[in-house]
């Protein structure tokens, strides 16, 4: 087997090795449209005749053409083949379908049969808002096949994609889609702060010294929690206000800066903030550093947000959500950091290991980042 196979593939590969630039038309898809009309749920399911011909053979007279007559004679078979692979499930129970008609539609890769049917959900609620859909159609013969579902509900249209990896999806039409959008973006913001280690290191560098007071070139512990909290709130608020301003300006397209520049300055800001702990220059007005560099970090956030495929209509929601998410993410860091730092602030460990050694490590990382970003290199694993 092995040798024989190799001869075939080497020729085959030569045949294919340079096909990259010449794509054909799109791979196989089916389109499902679900809509509510009056007190019923209707579905149009559009399936390519090419796919059906491979699966259940539509061209009966083998002349290479599929006619309307041939298709009509196969309508029953198509229903029997397709419908069991599409389940509309309400509280664990499958719905039944009543067929209404069979039509035809055209797409960019040929003709499609259209199964139009009514969905009869189990139970009393004929218009369930909470349901699952399982779509297993054609995946066994073509893993590149996708089911593209469009749901129209109260003037909103949403699209979902079914693939072999994602063949069951949950739907809850109660959920206001705007709220969900907002929550999605909040989560994105939180996530970005947590994985955006440069932002975390910048904040931590500024916060390290907030539990200490500098007097006559010597660090002393801050005596009251209140003072510490006020200092932290000042730093965090300044950072927040600054990056909110530039994040909004950038996303709304009013100001734009080259990302290599932004990313390099962010790295530099981390370096300066940490360096200031080792050789303190600014210690009274750290909120000012937070504000100034916060402006640049805002541009960094914006590039992430803009990658998330924003539509104009939801721009405000996404901006608000992302910003809130970033704040929540920051808050979480502060909530973890503050009590620990406050408790440890009197120890030599805090002042030498965390403050000085920690800041040296951050300085080194930041310098390496800066070199990477400014000269477009890549050597750090993060």
């Amino acid at each position: 087997m092995s040798h024989f196979v190799k001869i075939i593939t080497l020729q085959l590969i030569l045949n294919l090795v340079f096909t990259l630039s010449s794509f054909a038309h799109k791979p196989s898809d089916s389109y499902i449209f679900i809509r509510r009309e009056g007190d019923s749920v209707f579905c149009d399911w559009e399936i390519s005749l090419k796919d059906l011909d491979y699966a259940i053979n539509l061209d009966r007279n083998k002349d290479g053409n599929i006619t309307w007559g041939e298709l009509k004679s196969k309508h029953k078979d198509i229903e029997e083949y397709a419908l069991p692979q599409f389940s509309f499930i309400v509280s664990g129970e499958k719905s039944t379908y009543s067929s209404i008609s069979h039509l035809v539609n055209k797409h960019s890769d040929g003709s499609y049969t259209v199964l139009r049917f009514k969905i009869d959900p189990p139970g009393k609620d004929k218009l369930p808002k909470d349901f699952d859909i399982t779509y297993d159609f054609l995946f066994d013969i073509d893993p590149q096949h996708r089911g593209i579902l469009t749901i129209r509900h109260k003037g909103n249209t949403s699209t979902y994609i079914f693939s072999p990896e994602n063949s069951t999806q949950h739907f809850n039409l109660n959920e206001s889609s705007k709220l969900k959008q907002l929550l999605d973006f909040i989560w994105q913001g939180v996530w970005h702060i947590w994985i955006g280690i440069d932002h975390i290191l910048f904040l931590l560098s500024l916060l390290f010294a907030s539990v200490l007071i500098r007097e006559k070139n010597v660090w002393k512990e801050a005596d009251s929690l209140k003072k510490v909290l006020i200092e932290i709130i000042k730093i965090i608020s300044a950072f927040t206000i600054a990056h909110s301003i530039t994040l909004s300006l950038a996303v709304l397209g009013i100001v734009s800066l080259p990302s290599a520049f932004v990313e390099s300055v962010i790295a530099f800001s981390v370096f300066l903030a940490a360096l200031n702990n080792i050789f303190p220059v600014v210690y009274g007005k750290k909120w000012l550093i937070a504000f100034l560099f916060g402006l640049v970090h805002g541009f960094g956030f914006a590039s992430v947000l803009m990658e998330l495929d924003l539509s104009k209509s939801s721009l405000i929601i996404s901006l608000l959500g992302f910003n809130l998410g970033v704040e929540f993410g920051q808050l979480a860091i502060v909530l973890i950091f503050t009590p620990i730092a406050f408790l440890l602030r009197k120890t030599a460990f805090y002042r030498s290991v965390i403050l000085i050694f920690g800041s040296i490590v951050i300085c080194v990382i930041a310098i390496l980042w800066f070199i990477e970003r400014a000269f477009n290199l890549s050597f750090l694993p993060f």
């Binding site: 087997m1 590969i13 290479g64 599929i66 055209k106």
Partner: protein
Amino acid sequence: MKKKLLIALTIYFLSLCSYGAAFIPSKDSEVLEVLPKGSISSEVKRLKTILFINQNDPELAFKAASKFIQIGKTESDPRYFGYAESIVNKWIERDGENLDWYVLRATISQYNHKFNKALKDLDFVLEKDKENPQACLIKSNLLCTQGEYLESKRYCLPLLRSAGEIIAIGCASYSSGLNGNAERSLILLEGISPRLLKSPIEEKVWILSLKADLAQRLGKKELAEKYFNQAIILKPNDSFLLSNYADFLLSEQKFDKTISLLKDKTNNDGLLLRLAIAEKGKGLTKESKLHSEELGIRFKEQKLRKDFVHQREEAIYYLKLLNDPVKSLELAKENWQIQKEPVDVRILLESALKRKDEDSIKEVKSFLTKTKLEDVNIESLR
């Protein structure tokens, strides 16, 4: 003749207008779908039957999968790649020991522009069998696609032992030809050409298309024309060849020749794109507009699946047909993250120059300096 064409185009346009509205055909004899030419349709059904009857024969399954891939290529229909992939996936589950299945799956993934997925399979194979000729050849080619021209050459050397001189030299000339040694690579390929007399047709066409590409990039127009013609005589329907030849003709402003080459190849999106550009260049505004609209619909349907694999063609479409360099640059930049072949360099540079986007221009220039890529078409842009 022209009148006939216009009528055909009008009917075509009307059929486009009907996208989206399902209908019931008026006559039973109405042809809804034309299947691939007779022999291919029956071959597909024969393969399906063979697979069904011999479910435990890996050799037959392998042959069938390879055949499906070839049909997918000639028909420009990715469905057949899906059929092949489904066979391969099933056999990898049953017999994960046989590396040939992974090679075949990598071929399919590469064709579907799932480069990372392809690399994963290739690395798996190369880890177990360092000199696997198929894996080396695809990996080398894939690295070229990703702009790692220098690195790609490393995988050509083992081919000398495992696949013979011609394939090893072809592989190395492709890499070196992109890496500042175009002239020398062309001489090398011309040197081995007399030895190709008894080679399989795939090998001949491969070497010819490599030579045509090198000659074209070196500005040797007549030589390029000669090699393209020789290759197309051997394989008249190869969409990769046609697409490259069309690009060459378009750069020479030979619109008539491009149109006659591609007028019945509208099935393939990449070729339809080149046809529409030629029509526009020749002043056939109506035809070009119709084809351009058809392309727009195809891109839209492709995007519905959330497959982002055609940014290269879409970028060219926005720049050359819709005169929208903003959108074109956006797509060319996205594409640049995935592919870095000469044609990708061209479209990125062209739209960046139109938009005066210094960042992208700098990016291209540093890429050209790094790789020493030679291409008269790129030089003429700079």
